[in-house]
């Protein structure tokens, strides 16, 4: 500061001021212009794959999307026609099993992490491990369930597939539900405690109703993620060409059907792989949109 003051005094009065007017051809202005163009270009470039994927799904998959495709059994070899009804049923069943296992446990764990004892050792460890688990390679869930369930029961089954998906859903549900519960204002909880409520009463009468939209959003997104998973099902549920008759037998799923059919040398199977992808993406997007709608109600209130 002192230095500049001295300089101003010393310099002759005909000091030229730097250009204060905006000059478009100045180097820094050009650089600014160039980088803005670049970042626009990159943003558009990043959306090209999505547009291409959706275009291919509609063009390639849409042409075969009819009642036969969503109800019939997968075709073998050179057969024409066919569909993937059993795979839709299998995917829904296994996602159902996974949800039934992971949602209650996840929400209960989130209650412990966010309200009952947020700073205890158990809670911090558990929260940390849940975060680590979200980055856990999904195929390892398959390997783990293979070792625990498939080897023990001696058969690939819908149960095993469901449990493998549940392992992946559990940390997502827990962390999302915890985040939603943390948003409940402390004042509301304090008011309930001040009335003499037990912790359980506070949870059921204040925390859960208030945090419900947030919890639902997290849960639905976890379900959407599980529906699209395939790696954990590869060697837990395996695949089947027939409709499932019980839960303890190899079960088809949309994602494994796409994987199997994608490498086949037959036109018919490849077309069906695209159609199955379209159905799978629509299923996942349906859950995603549902999550958004549920999440939005939170902000209106």
């Amino acid at each position: 500061m002192n230095q500049t003051n001295e300089q101003v005094q010393v310099l002759p009065p005909r000091l030229e001021l730097p250009g204060l007017e905006k000059n478009v051809f100045e180097l820094r202005a050009l650089k600014n212009f160039f980088l803005t163009g670049l970042v626009w270009g990159l943003a558009i470039l990043a959306s090209v794959p999505l547009i291409s994927v959706i275009y291919m799904l509609i063009v390639e998959g849409g042409s075969r999307l009819d009642l036969e495709a969503v109800t019939a059994l997968p075709p073998a070899g050179f057969e024409t026609g066919g569909g993937f009804g059993n795979a839709i049923l299998g995917t829904l069943t296994m996602v159902g099993i996974a949800s039934a296992l992971s949602i209650p446990i996840g929400i209960m764990a989130a209650l412990y992490l966010s309200i009952l004892n947020p700073n205890s050792k158990i809670a911090t460890t558990s929260r940390f491990l849940a975060k680590v688990l979200t980055g856990f390679p999904s195929i390892l869930a398959g390997v783990f369930v293979y070792a625990v369930i498939v080897i023990t029961t001696g058969t690939y089954s819908a149960w095993a597939g469901g449990v493998a998906l549940a392992v992946l859903m559990l940390p997502t549900v827990t962390l999302a539900a915890e985040e939603a519960m943390k948003q409940v204002p402390q004042k509301m909880k304090d008011a309930a405690f001040g009335m003499g409520c037990t912790r359980t009463q506070v949870i059921f009468k204040v925390v859960l109703p208030t945090a419900l939209p947030g919890i639902m959003t997290g849960v639905i997104l976890a379900v959407a993620g599980a529906a699209g998973e395939s790696a954990p099902l590869l060697f837990t549920a395996l695949f089947s060409n027939y409709y499932m008759s019980e839960l303890a037998e190899p079960t088809a799923s949309l994602s494994i059907l796409i994987y199997n059919f994608s490498g086949m040398p037959f036109e018919n199977q490849i077309e069906l792989a695209w159609t199955a992808s379209l159905v799978l993406v629509m299923l996942v997007l349906f859950f995603n949109i549902m999550a958004r709608v549920v999440g939005r109600t939170k902000f209106r209130e």
Binding site: N32, A46, S126, P137, S230
Partner: protein, 325 residues
């Protein structure tokens, strides 16, 4: 006697009541149940590590550390080594990180630094979220029938004209590292973009205002003030994106070619730990399954280290900014 209004209130005229003994019982049962659920996550992780470890134990005893440095995977000879897979996993993930990281950070800047109207911002954010929602197998299918045919002429030209350059030393005969890494980049882009955007949003508005007040242009503000301030958050996004790329399975199993070779060329087929598991596990015999369990343990250790590093950086960033607020 003095009239006590509280007595009236407590004598059944109101709905409120103190918790009954049964409420207390329910409370303690419910709380211990929640406790066990929280504990179950810890037990699950411990059980996963224990189970994979004990299943891999025979293979660990048989192959020792030679498993990690070995380069052949031959069931008939009983020789198993995963060095090509470790190389492929790291190489493909690094390439993906390079592409996906640049795009992800660019998008984070684009979305948070006021380049677009709020409505267009919502569109782009939705696109990025949808990119994350599309299942891995669908990307695999898209890669086989759209990306590989598209890349082939480009790869051929690069190989013919720049074949002396080690990166282009082989032809792209179909599946290979380049399409796999590109699809992987698309898959980790949303993770990097979301975490980096979050890091930019955490920067107090004052910081930006101060820089503009000094007469800096928009990009001078972004490059000299915002990026360095958000750097630890961006680093966390990159590391977590890298972790995601390491464990990605299906798209890679469909696109990388599953060849046990170590090659620097972008167009050579390769293999990763996860796609090795996906492609060989279903038909493996007992000895091979033990070796695969060992391979999955290696994958677990690598991803665990990367994820913990990413989380640590993220936690550090949050603390840094929450302390300043």
């Amino acid at each position: 006697m003095v009239h006590n209004p509280f007595k009236d209130a407590a004598s059944g005229k109101t709905l409120s009541a103190a918790p009954t003994p049964s409420d207390y019982l329910k409370d303690s049962i419910f709380r211990s149940f929640a406790y066990f659920c929280a504990l179950s996550i810890i037990l699950l992780v411990a059980y996963i590590v224990f189970e994979l470890g004990s299943q891999a134990l025979p293979a660990i005893k048989a192959h020792g550390l030679g498993f990690i440095t070995g380069t052949t995977w031959d069931t008939n000879k009983g020789e198993f080594g995963v060095l090509p897979e470790i190389w492929g996993t790291l190489y493909s993930s690094l390439l993906a990180l390079l592409i996906g990281g640049v795009l992800g950070v660019a998008i984070a800047i684009f979305l948070t630094q006021g380049f677009v109207h709020a409505k267009i911002e919502v569109i782009f954010r939705t696109i990025i979220e949808l990119l994350a929602a599309i299942p891995s197998v669908v990307y695999g299918l898209w890669g086989i029938y759209v990306l590989i045919p598209l890349l082939r002429p480009v790869a051929l030209w690069l190989h013919e004209n720049l074949g002396w350059f080690p990166l282009f030393s082989t032809e792209l005969s179909g599946p290979g590292l380049a399409p796999a890494a590109l699809v992987l980049a698309i898959m980790i882009l949303p993770t990097v973009a979301a975490i980096s955007a979050d890091a930019f949003r955490r920067i107090p508005y004052k910081v930006k205002e101060a820089a503009y007040g000094m007469g800096a242009t928009k990009w001078e503000v972004i490059l000299k003030v915002m990026l360095p301030t958000a750097s630890s958050g961006i680093l966390a996004g990159l590391v977590l994106g890298f972790g995601r790329a390491l464990g990605e399975t299906m798209a890679l199993a469909m696109l990388i070619g599953n060849m046990n070779d170590i090659s620097i060329s972008l167009f050579a087929p390769a293999n990763t730990l996860a796609s090795l598991l996906a492609s060989t596990f279903p038909e493996a015999g007992q000895i091979e399954i033990q070796a695969l369990m060992y391979a999955s343990l290696v994958l677990l250790v690598i991803t665990f280290i990367v994820n913990v590093a990413g989380l640590a950086v993220q936690q550090y960033t949050m603390r840094k900014f929450e302390g300043k607020k």
